[in-house]
Every structure is written in structure tokens, then in C-alpha cells.
Symmetry: C2
Subunit: 214 residues, 2 copies
């Protein structure tokens, strides 16, 4: 029984989870500028989140600032990186080496934050057998054979909309436990599968819309 | 005085705006499968949003389904694409041709949804003067000179965190009205500037976190 640990690991609400990377980004900046301690008020001023919200969020990670001194920058960075999973490397497969998929294979930033794409899958003869940024691309039919030898549980979904559901099901059948869905299609997955939607084109639409409504 | 138009253009809440691309993706799929009419119940089943929510969202675009028949698929696609701004092309500059920035230059999907990146800016001699996917990369110092000849008002921000605020200010000084911020840094911008945050690494952290809490 570790009630504290339980609280730490299960009770973090999603809005808090979404704010933690903002704090981390700012703290790294402060560390680069030689700051050793920082108050929630300073963080608040920099990133437009209230100081009390910041203190509350960080208390969920069992971190509290010292009176008059604030948070220890270096150790808070470590706690955040650790909690956010950026200090270990996980491997992933990418499904759909088209425009966005190919672009993600080029993004070395993913591995810097702990995600290493080890293979891409597609059905397009033009990319199968190629190596993009050092990552081999296979025919999707080769995926089922690889599942027996692989413990990879994160899959990136960048196929065309009309293939999204079928490929996501194929991913899960092959052992994928978390689907990072970059398509605008809302895939249906079993409850135990982690689904994260990242619709960059939807964000683009928000920009267009706001620009016109200005 | 056009009260209907006003309602259409100013009162769409952001959650609705975020759901519209899901409807569009599903409708395109239905159109490809030969569907001419579709009910909100069918859409609801497919994408896990309640039928009443869908009907409400679409009514904000002044679209309503016909009793017993539902929505005309083709014309609803047109309304959505038009409203979301996907039927016209806007030009954009990209600032920071590093990992993610370079990857976005490779993504032809952006132009398919109406955003054409016409130039990239950086300070790295290794990329300045290069052409990536047909897009020229200039030194950021050349940007101020280009502002006088350019009407481009969308800027994509993919610089390192510690440069985010300064480069965003430089963008705005050069006439950018909308900043698409891919950095995890919360930039401060004047109120009349549209800011859209897309933190793909933060989404990655959400996946890691949920996977461990399963």
C-alpha cells in the first residue's frame, strides 16, 4: 500500500498534464539563464497561468516550493522530465509514410523527447524498402510477422482518413497498446487502448477561422 | 445589418470548431462510399459524438438536416470545407528550420488543407540557401526586408524554446497576424494576434503517462 504513490500516479487530471510541459520548457530556459530558484509567481508571469494553479499542479507531483525561495529549478526539471517520461526512450512504429508520416520520420525532436521510431509501414512501392532518416520502411503485410519478435507498444497513425480505422485495428492486433492518431478520423478502439488525437490540420482550421473573425 | 451572418461568423464556440474537422473527415469517407444523405445518428455512431451535439454544432453553421433523410453529404462537405477555410490557399512563413520545422516543410498535407509555406527562416548556415521540398530557406535577417513586399500573415514557429518569444516578436514586427506555435513555450503576444499552440511533444507525454497508468 503506497497511498502517496497512488495519488501521484493516478490522480493527475489531464489539464494539469497538459500544463506540465509548459512549466518544463520555461524552467529549462530559467536554468540556462542561471536561475537556481524560482517562485510560482515568476513562472506565472512568464507563462500566463496563475501562481496558485501552478502551485496546485506541482503539489500533485508532491513538489512544493520553499517559503521566500521558491522551487529548486534543477530538481524540479528532473521531476517534470521524469514524470512526463522524457528521461527514458520508448520505441514506436509509424503507419503511413505519406506526407505527414514522412515528415515525422524526419523529426529528430521526437527521439530527443523519448520516442524513437524504429520502422515505418506503408503499401506504396515508392517508399517500401527505402530508409528515411535512417528508419527502414516495410510493407504493412510484414508487420504481423514482426509482432512476435517485438515488444513495441506505441504506434503512430498517419495513414489517409479512409484507412485510419482498419490500420488502427491492425496495429492493435499486432500488439500496439497506444495509438497516436494524427488523422482527423475518430478511431474506435477497445477501452484498454490509449488513444491520443493530434489533428494538426484541425488546428490550422482554427487559425484560419480566428484570422477571419478578427 | 446581417444578424444571421453575424451569428455564423462570431458565435462558433471553440469546442464546436474542434469537432467540425471530425465531421468533415467522416463525411468525405461516406461520400467516397457513395452515400448521398446521412443522419446525425449515423455520424454520431461513427465518431462518438452525440447526435444532438452534432445537430447543434451544424445548426451554428446554419445547416439543418431534412426529416427522415438527414444531411445532404456533398453540400455539407462544401459548407464545412468552406467554413474551415480549406477551400482557399493561404501563404505562410516558417521560422526555425530545425527538426520539426524541416519536417513540416516536407509535409505536403498542409498545402492540401490550404496552407502553403513559401519560405523558411533560420540562422543555421547549414540550411540557409538550401531548398527543402521546393521551399527556399533564408537567414532570419532577411525577413524584415521581405515584409514590405509581402502580405503573408501566418507564421509557423518551430524554433528552440529559448528563441520562441524573441522570434515571435520579430514575426509580429514583420506583419505576421497569426502565430502557429509548435514550441512548448507559452509566448506572450498582443491581444490582436492569433496564437495557436500545437505541442506535439506534450501529446507524446500524455501517451507515455497514460500507458504507464493503464
Amino acid at each position: 500500500m503506497e497511498p502517496t504513490k497512488m495519488m501521484e500516479t493516478e490522480r493527475i487530471p489531464e489539464p494539469t498534464l497538459r500544463r506540465l510541459p509548459w512549466y518544463l520548457a520555461y524552467l529549462k530556459l530559467a536554468a540556462d539563464q542561471g536561475e537556481n530558484f524560482i517562485s510560482s509567481t515568476q513562472i506565472a508571469r512568464a507563462i500566463n497561468v496563475s501562481a496558485s494553479q501552478i502551485a496546485k499542479d506541482l503539489s500533485l507531483l508532491n513538489v512544493s516550493g520553499k517559503t521566500r525561495v521558491g522551487y529548486d529549478v534543477k530538481s524540479l526539471i528532473e521531476v517534470l522530465e521524469d514524470f512526463l517520461g522524457f528521461r527514458q526512450t520508448r520505441q514506436a512504429y509509424l503507419f503511413g509514410v505519406g506526407n505527414l508520416g514522412g515528415a515525422l520520420l524526419h523529426d529528430k525532436g521526437l527521439s530527443q523527447y523519448g520516442l524513437e521510431i524504429v520502422a515505418g509501414f506503408d503499401v506504396n512501392p515508392a517508399v517500401i524498402g527505402q530508409t528515411i532518416n535512417g528508419i527502414p520502411v516495410y510493407h504493412i503485410d510484414e508487420y504481423p510477422a514482426m509482432r512476435t519478435t517485438s515488444s513495441i507498444c506505441i504506434g503512430i497513425l498517419t495513414v489517409p482518413v479512409e484507412k485510419a480505422q482498419a490500420v488502427a485495428e491492425c496495429m492493435v492486433a499486432g500488439g500496439i497498446k497506444a495509438v497516436w492518431n494524427f488523422t482527423p478520423f475518430r478511431i474506435h478502439m477497445p477501452e484498454n487502448i490509449v488513444v491520443q488525437n493530434t489533428s494538426i490540420y484541425a488546428h490550422m482550421a482554427l487559425i484560419f477561422n480566428r484570422l477571419e473573425r478578427r
